[in-house]
């Protein structure tokens, strides 16, 4: 990397020399590497030194002119001072020099937008030449703002309007109205790049990009970040950093992997961020983390097979990063959270959690302590919203000291301040009513690995302790500890049984397929064949397809049928398809799969699986449904 940079550096300097020698007959000497003339870099250093001296001399000379005019409106042949120009060329970034090569107005707008530098850094005064009444060339210096105020009256009249379009008041509308074309192939991309070089807006857009990247004004940075969508910001980054190189600009857009599309802002961030949080073992990931992570996924695609679901147990191994990328490129499911199928016994609940949060996304806390509870909460709320409390079976049972009998109350696993039925609040209430705990008692749900009774923080109060790694609703050694004592009479009971698709007409309203329509306003219809599946996903923007089929047919490489009519029903979601070779591969997530690692399966697997389950279904139902809102 170092070598590459230094190579580019010397190359850029060399280019500048070419530009400079083209523009000015600065020095008659050639740049040969003989004994008298050392290497090109050393010559450049000397050259810069000479230039600096000349610039300073010129500056002193110009500023010492006492009778210089302050108004240039009547002056003839106003040009940028050659010494000043030379300084701009020497000290500005090549990418902006490329932008100004052909067009004087672009040069002025680049200068106005602080993209060009002199040997002193940011331009505060502009040095110009003009012809006096005797037609002699004279020099003068003007404050930058004064210069632009006056020069735009003489030339490049449009620049003044462009400045208005990009001021703080108008930039959002201007950017909204600007087309940020995404190329589909190399030719198209080179044309797009050339169009940006010719576009008068480019210096203004690159100024915004520079402010976002480098400005110390937090207010301005925040304003731009807030008002400019991520995709456009990334696009500007890519454009302004690669003005000199259409190849580098295009490389980012012609990569077909989903990871780079996330970096470019073309697809939602969650398609990469949860995988990277897990891979990098970070609770939050920055943009630069995502870039590094994306590069890793591209260069080492096997990493996704075994990593990315730590603390969020699911079927193992997962898919190769390339397969996941192909699938996520076509995937529609909103997955702004991480769930843990391995900690949820009833696989239908995981599927329901995913479907409900696609149509009605909520803020979900994703960590190993809460991930199972969040899925249970989604399903519990469906039942409570439809006033079907009986449909929610999980209960905490305890010995009622008044009646001296066991009492049970419903609870939803996890901790939620706004939910009175959440596990921590229900336990606190039982302790208050039955054990004399203070009314304001709060219970903390703690992983057994973190719980240590010898530590002072665990000495007093209420703790619900469980082994996060080996805990499912049905199999969890959960203990309620209050004031350092295990409350052995408090037990967690219940098994969440319910119809996913109706199995008896009498309970039709309370099957999941009916409940979601009633509570979330969705609509469903059966999907019978591959053409129908493609049509449904193509034509309805937020649509997905869900179903139940025998896992032995859905994932035969892992699950084997060894007896007639053997079938483990597996809920699943289909949310896209990928035409590849001669096959159509379906973007598929079984309820046991990691949410962020979809598979590609063939239609015949889905068809066989649904057909086989239909044979065993009490109502012979075809359990493959499109669902939309």
């Amino acid at each position: 990397m170092k070598l590459k940079t230094s190579h580019l550096f010397s190359l850029n300097l060399y280019c500048k020399i070419v530009i400079l020698t083209g523009l000015t007959a600065f020095c008659g000497k050639t740049y040969s590497q003989d004994q008298d003339n050392p290497g090109i870099i050393e010559s450049l250093e000397r050259l810069l030194e000479v230039h600096r001296k000349q610039y300073d001399q010129n500056k002193t000379k110009v500023q010492s002119i006492l009778n210089a005019p302050t108004d240039i409106s009547d002056l003839k042949d106003v040009q940028l001072d050659p010494q000043f120009m030379r300084s701009l060329i020497f000290n500005s970034d090549d990418k902006y020099l490329r932008l100004i090569q052909k067009d004087e107005c672009k040069l002025l707008s680049a200068l106005e937008n602080n993209l060009l530098k002199t040997t002193e850094g940011d331009v505060e005064k502009v040095f110009i030449t003009y012809k006096n009444k005797e037609n002699k060339i004279e020099s003068m210096a003007l404050a930058k703002n004064d210069f632009f105020e006056q020069i735009y009256k003489k030339k490049c009249l449009n620049n003044r309007e462009f400045s208005t379009l990009f001021n703080e008041k108008n930039f959002q509308k201007t950017i909204e109205g600007t087309k940020f074309s995404l190329p589909k192939n190399n030719n198209e991309c080179e044309i797009i790049h050339k169009e940006w070089l010719d576009n008068s807006y480019t210096p203004y857009l690159c100024r915004i990009q520079q402010i976002i990247k480098k400005s110390k004004s937090q207010r301005q940075v925040a304003l731009y970040k807030e008002k400019i969508p991520a995709m456009q910001r990334t696009y500007l980054d890519n454009l302004c950093n690669n003005l000199t190189s259409p190849a580098l600009f295009c490389e980012n857009y012609l990569k077909s992997d989903v990871w780079n599309k996330v970096i470019n802002g073309e697809v939602p961030r969650y398609k990469l961020s949860f995988k990277c949080k897990n891979l990098l073992d970070k609770s939050e990931v920055s943009n630069s983390d995502l870039k590094n992570c994306a590069a890793k996924l591209v260069n080492e695609p096997s990493i996704c097979e075994t990593r990315g679901n730590k603390n969020f147990p699911s079927d193992f191994p997962m898919q190769n990063c390339n397969t996941i990328s192909d699938a996520l490129n076509r995937s529609k499911l909103i997955t702004n959270y991480h769930d843990c199928p391995g900690n949820v016994d009833n696989e239908a609940i995981t599927n329901i959690h995913r479907i409900v949060n696609h149509f009605s996304p909520r803020n979900i806390v994703s960590n190993k302590e809460t991930c199972a509870g969040e899925a249970q909460f989604t399903f519990a709320r469906l039942n409570f919203d439809i006033k079907h409390e009986a449909g929610w079976p999980l209960q905490i049972c305890f010995l009622n000291h008044v009646s001296e009998k066991e009492d049970c109350v419903p609870y939803i696993p996890g901790s939620r301040e706004e939910e009175p039925l959440s596990e921590d609040q229900v336990i606190a209430k039982i302790l208050y009513q039955q054990k004399g705990a203070p009314a304001k008692t709060k219970c903390r749900i703690v992983d057994s690995k973190a719980y240590s009774p010898v530590r002072s923080e665990f000495k007093f109060g209420c703790f619900i302790v469980f082994d996060a790694e080996n805990c499912t609703t049905l199999s969890c050694n959960k203990k309620v500890i209050w004031e350092d004592k295990v409350q052995s009479d408090i037990k967690f009971m219940g098994k969440p049984t319910f119809d996913y698709f109706t199995t008896a007409f009498i309970n039709e309203r309370y099957s999941f397929a009916s409940m979601i329509n009633e509570v979330k306003g969705t609509q469903g219809r059966t999907i019978k064949n591959l053409t129908d599946l493609k049509f449904y996903l193509d034509k309805i923007p937020n649509s997905i397809i869900h179903g139940v089929g025998c896992v032995e047919d859905l994932i035969p490489e892992e699950f084997q049928r060894t007896a007639i009519n053997q079938c483990h029903p597996m809920p699943f979601i289909v949310d896209g398809y990928v035409p590849k070779s001669t096959e159509t591969w379906i973007v598929f997530r079984a309820a046991i799969d990691d949410l962020h690692s979809p598979r590609l399966v063939l239609w015949q697997n889905i068809f066989n699986a649904v057909s086989a389950y239909r044979e065993l279904h009490p109502l012979n139902t075809w359990t493959l449904y499109g669902i939309k809102k």
Partner: protein
């Protein structure tokens, strides 16, 4: 000209006949009752275990139908048997349609082959009859215990604790070569599958094979006193497939003989107990990009492969009492073996000479 045409017609007819001849058409499994209720049909067709959607498990012969167990509505039963024909394992799941769980522990019963008296054994998943039906193993995915119980003396039992902590849905493969020796699969901390040998007399497990990567699965079976190991790559990778065997009792498993090797990832699903000279499995006859899965017979002597199906989408292979079946689009097809349809029960006592009418058969189906 006419002669030329005749030659062409003759050649075409030969080719078309040849192509017709080459196409494998699998006969559909038919019975006088709904196939989706059938749990086991004996090869001689003399008895059938089946279930009703009301939750009953039934046993029928030509002359008699007996209810073996009455469960709740929607209860699902699954039956497993081996060529030893001594025992049948019955799995009972009473929450089949309202609690979808791969790990749900189901009630496990044993019944003597062709009889009706059920004996409850325990609860778990993936029951397997071992060593000529003298032992039964089943797995508890929550405690990760692989339990063993003698089918003749329930006091004889032991268990093996699995190491797997990485895949909640992993189920071990188990074979038993003698009263003292068990071979089973497990996953290590990295998710790599291994084959372990467990000795009852020492209660110790030793690893005898470790896969190269987590992207390989292992299948075990016993074929003619040989331990057969199938290693199959998964998820469209480039691991390929290998089937190898080693004589029992094992001396040096590293020196096992390769019976079959392919660059493609086959589905596997080894069936070793159908034929003394062949092993059936599901092979990918296509490629990773355009897979074509069919059932194949591997001759262990000549190491040649013969395709048994041409459906391209085979996903399962079942040995039901000596009949090789596969399920496709909800229907069952006979891949190999002959079932004596003449004897398949009529569910109700009838005079041996009286054949049922079409209406009677239809009514029986409706009753189901």
């Amino acid at each position: 000209m006419a002669l030329k045409n005749k030659v062409i017609i003759f050649l075409l007819s030969i080719f078309s006949f040849k192509s017709l001849e080459a196409k494998i058409v699998l006969p559909e499994l038919m019975a006088k009752q709904a196939i989706n209720n059938i749990l086991f049909i004996s090869q001689d067709g003399k008895f059938t275990y089946y279930q009703k959607r009301s939750g009953s498990l039934l046993f029928s012969t030509n002359y008699k139908v007996q209810e073996m167990r009455k469960g709740e509505i929607g209860t699902k039963y699954t039956l497993f048997a081996t060529p030893a024909r001594k025992k049948i394992v019955v799995l009972q799941n009473s929450s089949y349609h309202d609690f979808y769980s791969l790990r749900a522990k189901e009630k496990i019963y044993l019944v003597n082959y062709g009889e009706i008296a059920l004996k409850e054994v325990g609860s778990g998943t993936s029951p397997t009859l071992l060593l000529n039906d003298s032992w039964l193993s089943y797995y508890d995915p929550y405690s990760k215990l692989l339990n063993f119980e003698s089918t003749n003396n329930s006091a004889l039992k032991f268990s093996i604790k699995l190491n797997n902590r990485i895949n909640p849905y992993f189920t071990p493969q188990v074979v038993m070569s003698d009263d003292n020796t068990i071979y089973y699969t497990d996953l290590n901390e990295s998710g790599i599958v291994g084959v372990l040998e467990y000795k009852r007399n020492t209660s110790a497990s030793n690893i005898i094979y470790k896969a190269a990567s987590p992207m390989e699965k292992a299948e075990l079976c016993i074929h003619n006193d040989n331990l057969v190991l199938g290693i199959f790559g998964i998820h469209n990778g480039n691991q390929g497939s290998i089937i190898s065997s080693s004589p029992l009792p094992l001396k040096d498993f590293t020196k096992r003989e390769t019976l079959y090797k392919s660059e493609q990832n086959d589905l596997g699903h080894l069936v070793c107990d159908l034929d003394k000279s062949r092993i059936a499995f599901i092979k990918n006859f296509g490629s990773a990009a355009t897979p074509s899965y069919d059932i194949a017979d591997l001759n262990v002597t000549t190491k040649t492969i013969v395709p048994l199906s041409e459906i391209k989408t085979a996903s399962n292979i079942i040995n039901m009492d000596g009949i090789l079946l596969t399920q496709e689009k909800g229907k069952y097809y006979i891949v190999k073996g002959e079932i004596d349809f003449k004897n398949i029960d009529l569910l109700k006592p009838k005079s041996p000479t009286q054949k049922p009418t079409a209406e009677e058969v239809e009514k029986e189906l409706e009753d189901e």
